[in-house]
Amino acid sequence: MELLSYVIRKLIGGIPLILGVTLISFVLMVYFGPDKTFELLSKNPTEAEIAQVRAQLGYDRPFLVRYAEYLKEMATLDFGFSDSTGERVSSILSRTIPVSLALLAPGFVLGNLLGIVLGLVAAWYRGGWVDKLIMGGAVVGMSISFLVVIVAFQALFGVVLGWFPVRGWNVHDLPSYAYYVTVPTLASVFVALGYNTRFFRAVLVEEINRDHVRTARAFGARPAEILFRNVLMNAMIPIVTRILFSIPLIVVSGSLLIESYFGIPGIGKVTFDAITSGDQPILKAVVGLTAVLFVLILIVTDILYRVVDPRVSLTGDAR
């Protein structure tokens, strides 16, 4: 009951955020956004045809009407049909989101797990050569552009070694999944690892300096025990925050690059195509749903806070 009232309160609190996101993205992407009209026209259009297409796309209606329409779509989660293909937006999303999740999940999980492990190791040996090695590696990883990594990995694994496909997504069982997901996963882990390790190390070092860690040592706790119970468990709030908040970014921005470069029909590629073709219903859906995802993640984060830290209360302000 406490949880429910909390979630309701947070959902209500998320409304301004969603309104803000929809308003900004509406103004930028829809109102001033790309004009689809001229892509839908025939080779020899007339003014009348142009007016007709604009009317069909709804471009001729006033700002407020169109924005209200968008809000209505958000409320009903029905974004109509793609302006390009005519496919129902909901069916596009339900077709592509699972692909993106399957594509991104291994890299996301590995990137964070490895980051935490490396962060723990570096934090424990901080100042020593192990730490310097790991952090040096992290800086190198952080300094390479994602694009460069993708191109290099494709060339290496796809062309030079020929172990994995350069692109595509023809997944129907576990081996084919592994076959297609490996290179994108390696690329995303490679890129994320530097940032993750660095962040986790900083958080863990902060925690390692706390009094209770000294207490644990004074009572003879083993390093593994200290690292897990005192350091990791107490650093969960920033860790959970970072991991959860990276989800919406990865789902849209991360998948956008990977998918358009690996030619994988996920939500990122659809979004990218929607940008370059001005497919507003899809853009509206993606942006709107990302905002909703953000709000949901805000809620999940707060609930997880309470799970990982008994001091956090959902009702009061006491933190």
Binding site: P34, D35, K36, T37, F38, E39, L40, L41, S42, K43, N44, P45, T46, E47, E49, I50, Q52, Q56, F81, S84, T85, G86, E87, R88, S91, R95, T96, P98, V99, L101, A102, L103, A105, P106, V109, Q154, G158, V159, G162, P165, V166, R167, G168, N170, V171, H172, D173, L174, Y177, Y179, S260, F262, G263, I264, P265, K269, V270, T276, S277, G278
Partner: protein
């Protein structure tokens, strides 16, 4: 656990049956819409003509392209005045089974379906991209659309005389009419499916073509053979088979066999050249159009085109010229350099345009971006059409800085050149092309700032800028709808000015008069002569910087017996593709 769920979600596609013969085709772009009414691109057409039927198709192997009846039983009867066409349609052809039909069983295709399919283009609700093919040509059709598109209302010029006979009455002779009935736009769609799927008809097409679409997304379209499809057997001789040209491809084995030959079809849409090429090399797809940057690695000779030994051992090749061209154009509506009411200024403006044209180096463009495989030609009658004049002076496509500078001096342009904006969709290659062009015009005195790029995030926005006459200079490509020079010459017809197809806003009464004169002419020497006259006008007025037709080099796996094409023939070839026996074990071995 979450991973497992994701995996399941991702693996929901049914496993493919490995015993089927599946031809895996690669294309460089995905079609936007599969609705014939919007089949304006090569990519849409590729799918549409395989899922739907058109009355006519092009012969498999004959070049220049020739029509052959497809759904039609023979060629139409044409009245003497050239205004009334009567088509006979095969009987016994059925649409594929689909939930859209009562009982889920496809019914017979009739002449009424063709009437409906062409009517749709004039229905304002359909957002047709092909209506212009028939606009103003068929008696009563335009009015029908303007009067609310009531499908129950009869149209005088477009009627089914019975289930298997269609009559079209033209407002004026239209020699290209039969060509238009081989275009994807004219494909026959069942009204039931259009109504059943509504807007989603564009991704769930139902037709009577050789294949039935089973899945479609921006990366892959898969098809099964349409078991109801029966057009008899392949007659190689009728299709224009010549042993000297086609002998090595193993097509003989197919002669006399019923088509389509493959059980399934996959079309992979792969945007990046490199990815597409690698998919081909690794055997994931059966064919590829050689991307430019691979030309040097693959070919030992460009004229004639010869593969290197390694490639020749593994793959078949075929090369052909594209049905279209790329060109640069000026916005003639701009008085700074386009048409001008003052004849002196008009002449000076022409000189400026000619100077820019002469500064443009087609050879460099060809070498850099088409690896020397492009076919540079003067004017706008492209090499693929029969009216092409191989002997035309090449003066207009020669890089000639001296004449360019001379003209600028002569007409007093020196030091007062206008600033020109160059529009382009934002892409790496477009930018490189621009950079090369800019380096060339700098040679005739334009400064970097005077010749500035304007890039557009979407092609639509780029088109809008052209249609709104905001760009001074732009480069575009045109692909032919049918093999007739009229298709490109109409781009310069005054009444077609923007937002029509005349993006140049070229307005020359002499040209227009000639154009109108040719409209009703049947193919022949007289028409060809007039076409060439018009062509010369366009060249002399320096409206365009034209042109180049690309040479396509197709490679395909030797186990596949076919002759791929994506120009005029396009998707029609897929029904004749056969996979050799080896493939049954080789598919997806990795």
């Amino acid at each position: 656990m979450i991973m497992g769920m994701l995996l399941l979600a991702a693996c929901s596609e049914p496993p493919s049956d490995d015993n089927r013969d599946v031809y895996r085709h690669s294309e460089d772009e995905a079609p936007a819409s599969l609705d014939p009414a919007q089949a304006s691109t090569v990519y849409s057409n590729m799918v549409v003509v395989n899922v739907f039927d058109t009355l006519y198709r092009y012969k498999y192997l004959a070049r220049p392209y020739e029509l052959a009846p497809n759904l039609a039983a023979g060629f139409p009867d044409v009245s003497d005045d050239g205004l009334t066409y009567t088509f006979r349609i095969r009987s016994g052809v059925e649409f594929t089974d689909d939930p859209a039909f009562p009982d889920g069983t496809g019914r017979e295709v009739t002449a009424h379906d063709l009437v409906y399919s062409i009517q749709r283009h004039f229905d304002p609700g359909v957002r047709s991209q092909g209506a212009w093919l028939w606009s103003g040509r068929i008696v009563g059709l335009d009015e029908w659309g303007q009067n609310g598109a009531d499908y129950a209302a009869p149209i005088e010029g477009l009627k089914a005389l019975d289930d298997h006979t269609l009559q079209i009455q033209l407002t004026a002779p239209y020699p290209q009419l039969v060509y238009t009935l081989a275009a994807g736009f004219s494909a026959l769609v069942p009204k039931e499916a259009v109504e059943f799927y509504g807007r989603e008809f564009s991704v769930k097409p139902v037709g009577s073509g050789p294949f039935k679409l089973t899945s479609f997304n921006s990366a892959l379209a898969t098809f099964d053979r349409n078991p109801k499809f029966d057009r008899g057997v392949l007659n190689l001789a009728d299709e224009g088979y010549r042993d000297d040209l086609h002998g090595t491809y193993g097509l003989q084995a197919l002669d006399g066999q019923a088509y389509p030959f493959v059980d399934g079809l996959e079309i992979h849409f792969i945007d990046e050249n490199a990815s597409r090429w690698n998919s081909f090399i690794s055997g994931e797809v059966h064919n590829v159009m050689v991307p430019n940057e691979q030309i040097d690695r693959v070919l030992t000779s460009k004229d004639p085109i010869e593969l290197n030994d390694d490639m020749a051992e593994r793959f078949h090749k075929h090369s052909g010229i594209e049905a279209g061209f790329v060109y640069g154009g000026f916005n003639m509506a701009d008085e700074r350099f386009g048409h001008h009411p003052d004849p002196d200024q008009d002449a000076a403006n022409r000189a400026l345009r000619c100077a820019i044209r002469d500064a443009f180096d087609w050879q460099a463009r060809n070498e850099t971006f088409y690896f020397g495989l492009g076919n540079v030609f003067p004017g706008v009658i492209v090499p693929l059409v029969p009216e092409f004049d191989a002997d035309l002076s090449r003066r207009s496509v020669q890089h000639n800085l001296q004449s360019a500078n001379q003209a600028l001096d002569e007409y007093g342009w020196r030091d007062q050149l206008p600033s020109m904006s160059y529009g382009m969709p934002s892409s790496v290659q477009q930018r490189q092309m621009f950079e090369q062009f800019r380096a060339q015009v700098q040679e005739i005195g334009f400064s970097t700032d005077q010749f500035s790029p304007e890039s557009f995030a979407t092609f639509g926005d780029f088109s809008r800028a052209i249609k709104n006459r905001e760009l001074d200079l732009f480069f575009l490509g045109w692909s032919l709808d049918y093999p007739d020079a009229q298709n490109t010459l109409q781009l310069f017809y005054g009444p077609n000015e923007t937002p029509g197809s005349n993006n140049f806003n070229y307005n020359n009464p002499a040209f227009d008069a000639l154009y109108e004169q040719t409209l009703t002419l049947q193919p022949g020497q007289q028409r060809t002569a007039l076409y060439r006259q018009m062509n010369q006008l366009v060249i002399d007025d320096c409206v365009v910087i034209s042109g180049l037709s690309r040479t396509r080099v197709h490679l395909w796996d030797k186990q596949v017996r076919m002759l791929p094409d994506r120009e005029i023939l396009g998707g029609f070839f897929m029904r004749f593709v056969d996979i050799g026996n080896e493939s049954e074990t080789a598919a997806m071995s990795n």
